[in-house]
């Protein structure tokens, strides 16, 4: 599990490199796919490259995300809370493990609200989601 998490840590860091400043909730209304995207030269973003999740995961040896349509909702088909690799655990670890050296916390504020939204009337924290961008 740790190897997988370390691989995903690289993905997370890569995803973070595409964002240009300290993230705020409104900057990433769709969560993962708002951060993990293509940053082209001249876009004004701090880093350039393809930081979408599919190509990044491919580099780690993860199976092709053939059936994924909505991210990260559809990821829970395999990574449910009851699975050996719950998505929440994986994503939390790659974003917060070794916070003193983790780009997510050191450079981008480590905000929960980048990935989560609050449904205030219901009093429930939600996971932001959006259609895949690959």
């Amino acid at each position: 599990m740790r190897n997988g998490i370390h691989a995903l840590a690289l993905i997370t860091a890569a995803g973070l490199l595409v964002v240009s400043a300290v993230a705020t909730a409104d900057d990433y209304p769709q969560g993962c796919v708002d951060c993990h995207r293509i940053s082209e030269k001249g876009s004004g973003l701090r880093y350039e490259g393809d930081f979408r999740i599919q190509p990044l995961l491919a580099q780690t040896g993860h199976r092709w995300l053939k059936k994924i349509k909505t991210v990260p909702n559809d990821c829970t088909k395999c990574h449910s809370d009851d699975s050996d690799l719950p998505l929440a655990t994986i994503v939390h670890l790659v974003h917060f493990e070794k916070p003193e050296a983790n780009v997510y916390t050191t450079e981008f504020g480590g905000k929960c609200a980048n990935c989560h939204a609050m449904d205030a009337p219901a009093g429930e924290a939600l996971v932001k989601s959006g259609p895949k961008n690959w």
Binding site: A88, T89, I90, V91, H92, L93, F96, E97, K98, P99, K111, C112, A113, H116, M118, A120, P121, A122, G123, E124, A125
Partner: protein, 135 residues
């Protein structure tokens, strides 16, 4: 229950001065809900105002012990997480908790960076049981 939560949240916000940082409130609720010279905003005092049952006064660990009645799904008093989230993120409280005090998730939660689990900050009650108090 909503009434309880709506009273607790502004009370907390009134008490805290300045920008709320994670390190400022290592024990969550009781790190923020304290007594000052100006106001006594400890939870036990607020419980009295809202006519909460005595179970609140007897709770040792806050908010861990609140789960006796406010557990998710099966809590007879309603899920504490929903009550607290609503009270901190709905208007008019929202403006203070978020905009004035920069309150956010880590005011009450912390991340276990070894396990990847988001935890709830907790601490021992900061009031004396009434039954033990000198009359």
């Amino acid at each position: 229950m909503m009434r309880v939560a709506r009273i607790l949240a502004p009370a907390l916000l009134t008490l805290t001065g300045g920008i709320a940082l994670a390190d400022d409130y290592p024990q969550g609720c009781v790190s923020c809900h304290v007594a000052t010279e100006q106001q006594d905003m400890r939870l036990n005092v607020i419980f009295d105002h809202i006519e909460h049952s005595m179970a609140g006064q007897r709770t040792l660990l806050i908010p861990t012990g609140c789960a006796r009645c406010h557990a998710d799904e099966k809590g007879v008093g309603g899920a504490l997480s929903k009550l607290i989230h609503r009270s901190h993120y709905t208007d008019p409280v929202q403006k203070k908790f978020i905009n004035e005090f920069n309150g956010d998730c880590v005011s009450c939660h912390k991340m276990d960076t070894d396990t990847g689990q988001a935890e709830i900050r907790s601490g021992k009650r900061n009031w004396q049981l009434r039954i033990l108090s000198a009359k």
